[in-house]
């Protein structure tokens, strides 16, 4: 911010510009060869809002962020303030609506909530700067064309993850079905569910034999009724966002609907935590990096390019234990961390993928479902 253009900078830029004008074809080649322009990065601070338990940690630092910071000479402010999609979107939407900056360069939102689509539709996000994002070619093919951002102009996956059951093996015998979680008397009051409608509904609908990818009023109400019953009986203690992690680590909650990687990461606090995909099936979703309006698209794109380097992706995903969406990371891990390369939570096997289901994206926008869901949550 404080750096000013020097005379020689200007001359150099003019020369490059002139060359580009003379030979239009060379512009792209030049940009690619040169990588990000250090003048556009120097002295800047990259502000990144993410979910808890979602990045590599070593000795209270985040090595991948430190490397980024060192490589490009930028400061990084990493904020773990996304507990669930609803409340984070609620916090930022008023400013976005008024066209104001939310003071972030990058945020992460889940595709099983309506928000990534809403952000794109309302033009509340900046376009990625693909000139500095050559590594986006490493994105796994299956995620390249989501309906809400067909060309990935506004988003790139951070990681994907699973909805399933987490339990504390010291306090309860294995909990492998949704029905067991909802009715086992020994778990009464020790169970939490996720307050994200798609996560919880996917698991419950599967347990009812319904297809969560095609929600209709009958299947929705059936699932809702089942959850209501478990809440009323006192079996379900709470609905949580990522804050279930503390309750499980402490042992106040014995079994819960959880996100896959968290259970492994929480081993540092409680080595008895386990993750299972319920017998009736689990949910799968993808979290997306997006640049909120007035965020620094250039800086954020340089960062996205950095984490799409298979080496860095391997470092982060090997730690967080979520599904890696970057091709080539598996190869890196085979050398650095063979156990992680074989971990199905990071690289799901085809058999496992068959058990996983996405939630109906149309149902996310049904106001009636939203209302009913919020009423269930008690608000």
């Amino acid at each position: 911010m404080t750096d000013s253009l020097t005379r020689s900078d200007l001359l150099r830029r003019a020369a490059v510009g002139g060359a580009a004008l003379a030979f239009p074809g060379t512009l792209a080649a030049l940009a690619r060869a040169a990588g990000p322009d250090p003048n556009k990065l120097r002295g800047k601070t990259f502000v990144f809002s993410n979910w808890p338990l979602y990045i590599d940690v070593k000795a209270h630092r985040h090595p991948s962020l430190d490397q980024f910071s060192k490589k490009y000479g930028v400061k990084v402010r990493y904020i773990e303030d996304i507990n669930d999609n609803d409340s984070f979107f609620g916090k930022i939407q008023a400013q976005l609506r008024r066209g104001q900056s939310i003071g972030r360069d990058l945020i992460v939102m889940t595709d099983n909530s309506p928000y990534p689509a809403l952000l794109v539709k309302n033009k509340w996000v900046e376009k990625l700067d693909k000139s500095v994002l050559p590594n986006s070619k490493n994105l796994v093919p299956g995620l390249r064309h989501p309906a809400w951002d067909p060309n990935r102009d506004y988003s790139l996956p951070w990681v994907s993850g699973l909805d399933g059951i987490g339990y504390n093996a010291k306090l309860t015998k294995p909990v492998t079905t949704v029905d067991q979680l909802f009715t086992d008397k020994r778990l009464k009051g020790k169970v939490t569910l996720l307050n994200e409608m798609a996560d919880t509904m996917t698991l419950v609908m599967l347990s009812n034999g319904d297809d969560p990818a095609k929600v209709d009023d009958a299947s929705f109400d059936r699932a809702l009724k089942k959850i209501q019953k478990a809440v009323k009986s006192g079996q379900v203690r709470q609905f949580t966002g990522n804050d279930y992690s503390g309750l499980m680590a402490k042992g106040d909650v014995w079994a819960a609907f959880v996100w896959s990687g968290d259970m492994v990461q929480l081993h540092a606090d409680n080595k008895y935590l386990r993750f299972v995909i319920p017998k009736s099936g689990g949910g799968i979703w993808t979290d997306n990096m997006m640049i909120p309006k007035h965020g620094d698209a250039y800086l954020a794109s340089v960062y996205m390019n950095f984490v799409y380097d298979p080496k860095i992706a391997a470092e982060i995903d090997g730690y967080v234990n979520y599904i890696c969406d970057v091709q080539g990371a598996a190869k890196v891990l085979q050398k650095t961390d063979p156990a992680a390369a074989k971990n199905p939570l990071i690289f799901p096997t085809p058999a496992m993928l068959k058990q996983l289901h996405q939630f109906d994206p149309v149902a996310l926008f049904n106001p009636d479902y939203k209302q009913k869901w919020q009423k269930l949550l008690g608000a």
């Binding site: 008023a94 809440v231 106040d252």
Partner: protein, 306 residues
């Protein structure tokens, strides 16, 4: 000539100035009040007007813009959907206020009459926890009341856990929520009580005893009535914010303990449903206003000022 003119006009000028002040003397209090009134108008009445306007709007679910449509149904919808949370809020707030009063009165009494030169230290001790933020204090209670924590272990040991708590636990029960509210608002009760009790002239109590009143009678006829302004101020300062609280129910309770504050908070922040959040806020305000009016009427307004 000039001098004469000056001599003539000067007194006239003074008389004129004096007349101005005299004529407008009745305005002086209002001029002094003006900054405060302007502040209230700008930062209370105007936002309140916005809120009222918003409460009659309808929301577009895609871009979250609102349009004014005289949507009175926001009020009836809110009342019929969230009556349970509304009633629960007042129930919890009332219980917490009563417990806070029972705990604070002896505390304030003791500090005021027996504190001696340590008074300020004791007062500081009441306030000290409040140097830590509200959220952190409540999170600390989450740990203290944890299912595996010492409090629950002790209550299990003496077989009182299901009397005080519920389902073999304290956390995520109404007890925990009410306890959290009581704790968090205790100073708002204790401090006004202390101020009221501290102002009582001890000679009045001595006089009561000189007149052969028992200690209990002296308390009931001298100390208690004289401390009523403190009781009134303390209960209002505790009850009003407690009724709108949502942190305690959120962290120490479950959806079954959610209060109206939780609903408003989630409508404003999670659902971005501003119109019904605004309607709920105004309903809460109106109900509190009515309750306070009745309460003050019963206890007498003069008590508020002493």
């Amino acid at each position: 000539m000039a001098e004469a003119a000056g001599g003539l006009t000067a007194p006239a000028g003074r008389a004129h100035a004096g007349g101005l002040i005299h004529r407008h003397r009745s305005l002086t209090p209002y001029l002094l009040l003006a900054p405060g009134l302007a502040f209230l108008a700008l930062f209370f009445l105007v936002p309140l007007g916005f809120l009222a306007h918003q409460s009659l709007e309808t929301q577009n679910p895609i871009d979250f813009t609102n349009s004014f449509t005289w949507a009175w149904h926001n009020y009836s919808d809110a009342l019929s959907t969230y009556d349970a949370q509304l009633i629960r809020s007042f129930e919890y707030a009332a219980i917490a206020t009563a417990i806070a009063l029972l705990l604070s009165y002896p505390l304030a009494y003791w500090i005021a009459f027996r504190g001696g030169r340590w008074k300020n230290l004791f007062l500081l001790m009441i306030i000290a926890p409040f140097f830590v933020t509200y959220l952190i204090r409540t999170l600390a209670w989450e740990t203290i009341l944890s299912d595996q924590g010492p409090v629950v272990h002790f209550l299990r040991y003496v077989h009182l856990i299901n009397v005080i708590g519920d389902n073999d636990r304290l956390l995520a029960t109404p007890t925990a929520v009410v306890a959290g509210i009581t704790y968090n608002f205790l100073p708002f009760m204790a401090l006004p009580l202390y101020v009221a009790l501290e102002q009582i002239d001890p000679r009045l109590i001595e006089a009561g005893q000189d007149l052969y009143a028992s200690k209990v009678r002296t308390f009931l006829h001298v100390t208690l009535p004289l401390s009523m302004p403190g009781v009134l101020a303390g209960t209002l300062l505790t009850f009003i914010p407690a009724a709108g609280d949502f942190i305690n129910a959120q962290l120490l309770g479950t959806p079954k303990q959610y209060m109206i504050g939780n609903v408003i908070q989630s409508k404003f922040l999670a659902l971005t449903d501003y119109p019904s959040a605004a309607a709920l806020s105004l309903i809460l305000m109106a109900v509190i206003l009515v309750m306070v009016a009745v309460y003050v009427r019963v206890l007498g307004t003069e008590k508020l000022t002493g």
